[in-house]
């Protein structure tokens, strides 16, 4: 069952909270992982691995660099998750 956009944002918020300690309510679609959420390039790998597992999606390393914001990641997952 594919996740909705809202479910993905909630899921990413929980992951970012676990990885970087940012309160879930601060994780919004317009927020930059690096600039706003204290997720550096290493921690971003953790976010990606957790998101892959949670949303049953593959995010190749080459695509990770394009996921600047929570919205970017949400759209990527919406588009690529298994139906």
């Amino acid at each position: 069952m594919a996740a909705t956009q809202e479910e993905i944002v909630v899921g990413l918020a929980e992951i970012v909270n676990e990885v970087a300690g940012i309160p879930t309510e601060d994780v919004q679609v317009d927020k930059s992982f690096t600039d706003d959420l204290d997720v550096d390039s290493l921690s971003m790998v953790e976010v990606v691995v957790a998101a892959e597992e949670r949303f049953d999606v593959k995010i190749p390393d080459d695509d990770v660099k394009n996921l600047k914001t929570v919205g970017d990641a949400t759209n990527y997952i919406l588009k690529h998750q298994s139906a």
């Binding site: 676990e18 990885v19 970087a20 300690g21 290493l42 921690s43 790998v45 953790e46 691995v49 892959e52």
Partner: protein
């Protein structure tokens, strides 16, 4: 004093140890003669021949938030806790160049461990085998590298004069502090955060040290297992924790009105070149380190009133150190109160020089030598005045104290401190 021979003082101390989570509770435990050794109750310990250790009194998770802790090896967590205490104790808050009015280019860190991020390395290998490549933490390398505690403390205080990690097994912590003294003495830095840390309580190191016959297997009496100088000693007890000091040039400390605990006089170094893991039994290598200390500094044997000995509770090592003291200091050894604090803390490997320097600094401050516990029958080969069972008052006036640390590989480090 010219720019290349400056006086160095200790202006802050911090520790997290098996006896307590800060330097005050650590010192209190030492004076009370309390053992930090207990049984290992983890499932993995059941199969091991050694099932005791001196585990940390206060888990680091109580002061380091989880998002930060998950990027730090346990040894770096200990170092950070001890460094934060020492930094605050020295009167600093925040980062150099920010809240702390200190030039980052004049601030260094030198923090060492004996075997680095060993629990991270082994834990991530378990994850690799059990959960696959993708689950190996991207933080693994910066967590397991031996310089990680020094680097993380450096980031915390914004140290830019240099961040270093001398590695010499169980002498690492002392070597770090000696290195830091030299950084200040020779003018590279005004302030250095220095010490040692270790977190190696894990089945592999325990199995390996156990198979070397280096550890006691006295599982039935954890508190009595670490017994330096006793006839029944049969190896060390593994401990964990960190000790950190703030070293500062005397001028810098005076300019900012900081109170110094004592002078950090300097270090004496040597290498045995005898055996990869056994001490040279006559203590000749250790003696050369002590002689080098006397030759390199204005320290004289007459003023040394206390020695925090390396004394790990091994048959050969404890006595070799005493032979070296007699060889170099002669009759002056008789007025030196010798304490083996590992009888209470266990052996913190690279952390030992850190917490034992903290203990030595506090011994000078309070003019009290902590006791050596668990000597029921003093080894007749012991030639020296061992402080047994209860603390002992140290004399008034200007007095000096040594902290000795030796490591597998034949590394010998003697550090000297003096009241101001």
């Amino acid at each position: 004093m010219n720019a290349t021979n400056r006086t160095v003082v200790v202006t802050g101390i911090g520790a997290t140890t098996p006896l307590g989570g800060d330097s005050a509770s650590f010192w209190e435990g030492l004076l009370a003669g309390r053992s930090g050794v207990g049984p290992l109750t983890q499932d993995w310990a059941a199969q091991l021949p050694v099932r005791i250790a001196a585990q940390i009194a206060v888990e680091p998770g109580e002061s380091i938030p989880r998002p930060q802790a998950r990027k730090l090896d346990r040894s770096a967590q200990f170092a950070l806790i001890a460094a934060r205490e020492a930094w605050a104790d020295a009167g600093y808050t925040g980062k150099a160049g920010g809240e702390a009015s200190l030039d980052p280019n004049r601030l260094g860190t030198v923090i060492a461990s004996g075997i680095g991020g060993v629990t991270t390395l082994l834990g991530q290998y378990d994850i690799l085998r059990e959960q696959g490549v993708r689950k190996v933490s991207p933080h693994t390398v910066p967590m397991l590298m031996p310089n990680s505690p020094a680097a993380n403390v450096g980031l915390e205080v914004n140290a830019q004069a240099g961040v270093h990690t001398p590695v010499s097994a169980c002498a690492s912590g002392a070597e770090a502090i000696g290195y830091a003294i030299e950084m200040i003495r020779t003018g590279r830095a005004d302030v250095v955060v220095a010490g040692g840390t270790e977190a190696a309580i894990h089945p592999l190191p325990i199995a390996a040290f156990g198979n070397m016959m280096a550890m006691t297997k006295n599982n039935d009496d954890p508190e009595g297992a670490s017994r330096p100088y006793d006839t029944g000693r049969d190896g060390f007890v593994l401990g964990e924790g960190a000790g950190v000091v703030i070293l500062e040039s005397a001028e810098h400390a005076a300019q900012r009105g900081a109170t110094a605990y004592c002078e950090a006089i300097g270090q004496g170094l040597s290498a045995d070149s005898h055996h990869i893991a056994q001490p040279e039994p006559s203590g000749s290598g250790i003696a050369r380190a002590l002689q080098n200390l006397l030759d390199a500094t204005d320290l004289g044997p007459a003023e040394i009133t206390h020695i925090n000995a390396h004394a790990t509770s091994t048959p050969l090592g404890d006595v070799a150190e005493l032979k070296a003291l007699r060889k170099v200091f002669g009759n002056d050894v008789d007025h030196m109160a010798i304490s083996a604090t590992k009888s209470m803390t266990g052996h913190l490997l690279g952390g030992a020089g850190g917490i034992e320097t903290v203990a030595t600094v506090l011994a000078l401050k309070h003019r009290v030598a902590p006791p050596t516990v668990n000597i029921t029958e003093l080894d007749p080969e012991v030639d020296g005045d061992i402080v047994r069972d209860k603390p002992r008052e140290l004399p008034a006036g200007t007095i000096a104290a040594l902290n000795n640390s030796f490591g597998f590989g034949g590394h010998n480090v003697a550090l000297a401190f003096r009241t101001i």
